[in-house]
Symmetry: C2
Subunit: 557 residues, 2 copies
C-alpha cells in the first residue's frame, strides 16, 4: 500500500522578509504532486549585492521536479510575492492563479517580458475553487496594504491548510474587503484546520493593529492646515493610502497629481480590475505646473529613499517640472524598512536645506502597518484553532517568537526555514528532508547565482581596489619591455612614490632575476607577480588590492 | 583703528552627526587668532565609502592658516570628537588641551602613532583657565555617555561663548559628575553669554531625557532572572553603562569578563584617570572558561553590529573560547545608529538560530541616550539666556529644528553649516564668508581626498564590474596576436556565449579593420576599444562595465 504524505517546503521567505516562495506537496514520499505559492523577490543593497537589480529565489529543486508541479498561486501583488514571476516563470511554465487585481499586475509584468498573459488565470474569492492534482485551493479575501490580498485554503486528502498570505485585521480598510472573523470561523467550522502557515512580520508589535481608516482624519487635518505645495509619498501599491491622501487633498481644495511610473500603474491596475472606483480625478504633471501651489498635492514614489524615484529627485531639485520651496510640506506616509534609513535621512536633510517641512509617520499618525500585530495573530490562532502553527514571512527571530507564542497557546508550532521539508501528515510537523535553496541575482539582463563569485569579486574590488599587471614574454620566455601596472580605486601615491611606479619597479626587479622555470610557468608567474603587488600595496598604502595578471606570450610568426 | 571681530567656523559636525571640528577666531578680519574645538571622525559605509577605514574632516583651510592657530581643545573622548587627533595632529602640531580622562585616551592614541604625548595637556575643571591668544577657555563638567565630558566657556574681548559639547541633564549619572544647573546659572550670571553653540542630536525627542541610573534596576532584574550565560554589549566608552552592567552581574553572583580591546582600554583609561574607582573585579577570558555559565556575564564590544567585533563573532560561533547556547541571553544595552540596522539584525537572527534570547533596548528599559532631549535643550537655553543660539552637532534637519525652537523662544538663532564663517560680534550672527570644507578618507595607511576619484572608482567597479583589455602593437602599429579580455565581477556568460570571448571577438574584428590613424593614436584607440566593450556588455548582459585598456607598444630592440 502506498502511503501518501502532505509536505511543506519553503524555498524563500522563511528566515527572511522578502522573496516568498512556498511549496506544498501531497502524494507518495518524494513523488508528491506540488503547488507553489508566491514567487517573490527581495531587494539588493550595496553591502552584500552591489550592482544587482533584483534578488530571486533559487528554484533549482522545483525545476528538477517540474513534472510534479501542478500550478502556481499568487496571494497578492506585492513585489516580495509576485516580483519573480516575470523572471522565473519561463523556467516553470505552469498555470498561474490569482485574484483579479493581482492577475492584472502579473499580466502587466508578462506583457513587459513578452510572456503569454493567458498563463495567468483570474480566480474569484472562495467558494470558487481551483482543483489541481490532489489540491483544492480557495482564495479568501484578507485586508492588507494592497488590494485583494488573499489567504489560501488548501484542501488535501490529508487535511486542510490555511496559508495566511500577508494580512492585517482591518475592519474598515478604505479600499477593498474588510477583515471578516466570520469568514475564518466558517473555514475552521467547515473542516478542521490541520496547519496554519502564518505571516510573522509584526510579531514583535505588542499592541493591536490599527485600521487604515484611523489615519484619514490626521492626514486630512495635516493637509488642511498647510499653505504652499504638499507632497506625500507612500508605497505605490498601497492604493488605500493613495485614496486617503487624494481625498485629503480634495477636502483641502487641492488637485492631485500622481508622479512616478509605479504609482500611475498601480492606480490604473486597481481601476481596471474594479477594486478602485471613486479615486479623485488626477491632473497630469504638465497641467499641475499651471495650478497654484496652494491648490496642489503631489503623490510620489520613493518612500524608501530610492535614488531614482520621485522623492529623491525632488529633494535634489526639479522633477517633471515641479520643484519644492521653503514652507512646502513633504509627508512620508510610510515607514522606513531597516537598511533604508540612510537614504531616507538624506532626502529629509536635503529638504531641510530647502526649508521644506518634513513629516514622517508621526509615531503612527500618518501611517499604519499592513501586517497583523501580536494580539491580532493570537486572535487568528484562536479563530482557526489549527493543529499545527508554522510561522512564515519573517526573519528567524520573527519565526521563533511566533512559534513561541503559538506553543504557549498549545499549538504544535515549529520553526521551519528555507529548504526544510516538513511532513504535516501526522499530529506534529516532522522534518523529513532538506533541499538546497539560495538566491539568484538579476544583474542587468543576466541571472547569476549568489555563490558564483561574481558579486564577491565586486565587493572585493570595492573594499580593496584593483591592480592590473601586464607582462609580455617572447617564445623564448624573455620579458619584452617592462611590467606595466594600472591601478583602479587605490591611492595614487604611497609612502615612497607613485604607487603604480613602485609596483612596476618591484615587478621588473623580480622579472629580471626570475629563472626560466618561473617565467615558463603561467601559474607560478601569476602567483609570484600577484604576491609582489599585494606586498607592495601593504607596504605603500596599507592595503592588499585585488590583482589581475595578464601574461601575454608572443609567438614567432 | 583696527576693528576686531569674533568668528565661528565649523569645519565638521554642522550638517552631519560625526566628525566634529569647530573653529573660533578673534581679531582683525581675516587675521583672527584661532582655536580649534574637537577633531572627530565619522565612520564609512559600503554605500558611499567602501573599503575606507575612517573619515576625517578636511582641514586644509586651517593648515593654510596655521600661523593663526593657537591651540586645540577636545571636549570629550568619543571618536566623533577625538578620533582624528592621532591622524591629523601632525599637520597642525599645536598644543592640545583636555580634561584628564580625555587626555588619557588621546595620549594612548598618540603613543600608538608615535606622537609626542606631552603635546596633550591636562586641564582641570573650571575655574582653571587656559589662556591662549585672546581666548580664555574653561572646561565645565557636563554629564554624557562617557566620563568627563565638558562644555567650554570661551571668553573673548567680544564676549563669552558657551560651547556645549555633547551633554545630557543627568543628575545621577552613575559615573562622573552630575549635571548641575547652578554651575551654568553661575556662568551666565558672571558674564552674559553672547552665543551658545549647542548639541542638537536629540532635538526631535520630545520627552525629557532620563538618567543613566534609571536603567540600573531594570538591568539588575533582567540579569537576576536568567540562567545560562548572559552577554551584554554597549559602547566601550560608556563607562557608566559598563559599571551598571557589571554591578547587575555582581548582584546576580556572576563574574564579569570584558571582551574586546576597546572595552578593556576604556576601563583602564577610566581607572587610570581616577574617574572609575569601584568597578567590580573582572576575570580574563581564559579564567572565564572555567566559570559555570550561570555565574558569568560577558560584556562585549560590537553594539553596532561591526563584523569583526566580539558581538558579531559570538553570533557566528566561538570568540576567545566562549560560545553562546540555547537559553542564554544577549542584551543590546544600546541603540542602533541609523545605517547599522542590517548588521545588528543579522546578529540578532544568528542568535535566534542558536536559540539565544535577544533583548534590545526594550523601548528604553535597558538603554538611555547620552544627549539632551528637546525639553532639556530648552531648559539650557533658559539657564544661559544667550543672545545667540547656534545649533551644532546635528544633521541639517536637527540644526534647523533646534534653531526654530530657539527663535520661538526669542533667541537670535541661525543655522550654520560646515564651511560658513559667521561673525558673532554684533547682536545677531552674520555670515561673512565661506571656506572649502570636505572629507578625507583614511584608507589603509593612506589619506585620500573625498573628491580624488579613488572611492568613486571603487563604487563604479562594485556596481558595474571591471573589464581589462590588453592589446599589443609593434612599432609598425600592427596588432600582435589578438585582443585579450579579462573580466572581474561580471556574469561569465552573456546572451551569445562566454562574455570575455564575445568581447574579444568584437575587439579583434575592430582591430582588423582599424586604420593607421586610430592604431597609432593611444587616446583614440583606448576610446574605441572602451566603447566596444561597453556596447557588448550592454547587449550581452545588460550592463556597461568599467573598462581599463592597456595598449602595449613593443619597440624593435
Amino acid at each position: 500500500m502506498t502511503v501518501n504524505r502532505l509536505i511543506y517546503l519553503p524555498l524563500g521567505g522563511a528566515g527572511e522578509i522578502g522573496m516568498n516562495a512556498y511549496v506544498y506537496g501531497y502524494g507518495p514520499a518524494n513523488k508528491e504532486r506540488l503547488i507553489l505559492v508566491d514567487m517573490g523577490v527581495t531587494f539588493p543593497d550595496m553591502d552584500s549585492t552591489p550592482g544587482v537589480d533584483l534578488i530571486l529565489p533559487d528554484m533549482t529543486w522545483l525545476e528538477e521536479n517540474l513534472d510534479r508541479l501542478e500550478a502556481i498561486f499568487i496571494t497578492h501583488a506585492h513585489e516580495d510575492h509576485i516580483g519573480a514571476l516575470g523572471h522565473l516563470w519561463p523556467r516553470l511554465q505552469k498555470p498561474v492563479y490569482a485574484r483579479r487585481f493581482t492577475a492584472t499586475v502579473g499580466r502587466l509584468k508578462f506583457e513587459e517580458q513578452g510572456l503569454p498573459i493567458e498563463a495567468i488565470n483570474i480566480v474569484a474569492a472562495r467558494p470558487e475553487t481551483v482543483e489541481v492534482g490532489p489540491f483544492n485551493v480557495q482564495f479568501v479575501p484578507v485586508s492588507h496594504s494592497i488590494p485583494e490580498s488573499a489567504a489560501l485554503v488548501i484542501d488535501t486528502p490529508a487535511g486542510r491548510i490555511v496559508h495566511s498570505g500577508d494580512f492585517k485585521l482591518d475592519r474598515s480598510p478604505v479600499v477593498g474587503e474588510p477583515w471578516d472573523d466570520a469568514r475564518f470561523a466558517e473555514i475552521a467550522a467547515e473542516r478542521p484546520v490541520k496547519a496554519l502557515m502564518c505571516d510573522s512580520t509584526n510579531v514583535f508589535s505588542l499592541h493591536p493593529g490599527r485600521s487604515e481608516s484611523s489615519i484619514r482624519e490626521p492626514i486630512r487635518d495635516l493637509v488642511a492646515g498647510r499653505g504652499g505645495l504638499v507632497v506625500a509619498t507612500t508605497f505605490a501599491s498601497n492604493v488605500a493610502r493613495l485614496k486617503t491622501l487624494a481625498e485629503a487633498a480634495k477636502a483641502a481644495d487641492r488637485s492631485v497629481c500622481l508622479m512616478g511610473r509605479a504609482m500611475k500603474r498601480m492606480v490604473a491596475a486597481a481601476e481596471q480590475s474594479g477594486v478602485l472606483t471613486d479615486f479623485p480625478r488626477t491632473v497630469s504633471p504638465e497641467d499641475a505646473a499651471d495650478i497654484p501651489r496652494g491648490n496642489l498635492m503631489l503623490i510620489v514614489t520613493g518612500s524608501q529613499g530610492e535614488r531614482r524615484a520621485a522623492s529623491a529627485q525632488l529633494s535634489r531639485g526639479k522633477y517633471l517640472g515641479m520643484e519644492m520651496k521653503a514652507g512646502d510640506l513633504f509627508l512620508f506616509s510610510s515607514k522606513t524598512i531597516p537598511g533604508n534609513e540612510r537614504d531616507v535621512l538624506r532626502i529629509m536633510n536635503n529638504f531641510s536645506e530647502m526649508g521644506v517641512d518634513v513629516m514622517d509617520d508621526g509615531g503612527g499618525k500618518y501611517h499604519v502597518s499592513g501586517h497583523a500585530n501580536r494580539p491580532d495573530l493570537e486572535h487568528v490562532h484562536r479563530l482557526l484553532l489549527p493543529d499545527m502553527l508554522i510561522p512564515m514571512h519573517g526573519e528567524h527571530r520573527h519565526l521563533r517568537e511566533h512559534a513561541r507564542i503559538g506553543a504557549e497557546a498549545g499549538l504544535a508550532a515549529a520553526v521551519v526555514t528555507n529548504g526544510m521539508i516538513v511532513d504535516l501528515t501526522g499530529e506534529t510537523p516532522v522534518t523529513v528532508g532538506h533541499v538546497e535553496t539560495g538566491r539568484l541575482y538579476l544583474d542587468g539582463s543576466a541571472i547569476v547565482g549568489a555563490l558564483d563569485g561574481v558579486i564577491r569579486d565586486r565587493i572585493r574590488m570595492a573594499l580593496n581596489g584593483h591592480v592590473m599587471v601586464t607582462v609580455i614574454l617572447d617564445d623564448d620566455n624573455s620579458v619584452l619591455g617592462e611590467a606595466w601596472v594600472e591601478t583602479m580605486g587605490l591611492a595614487e601615491r604611497g609612502r615612497s612614490g607613485i604607487l603604480a611606479e613602485v609596483m612596476e619597479g618591484e615587478l621588473t626587479e623580480f622579472l629580471d632575476g626570475a629563472g626560466r622555470k618561473i617565467l615558463a610557468d603561467d601559474d607560478k608567474l601569476d602567483e609570484a607577480l600577484r604576491r609582489i603587488v599585494r606586498q607592495v600595496g601593504m607596504e605603500e598604502i596599507g592595503k592588499k588590492p585585488e590583482v589581475t595578471v595578464v601574461v601575454s606570450r608572443l609567438m614567432a610568426e
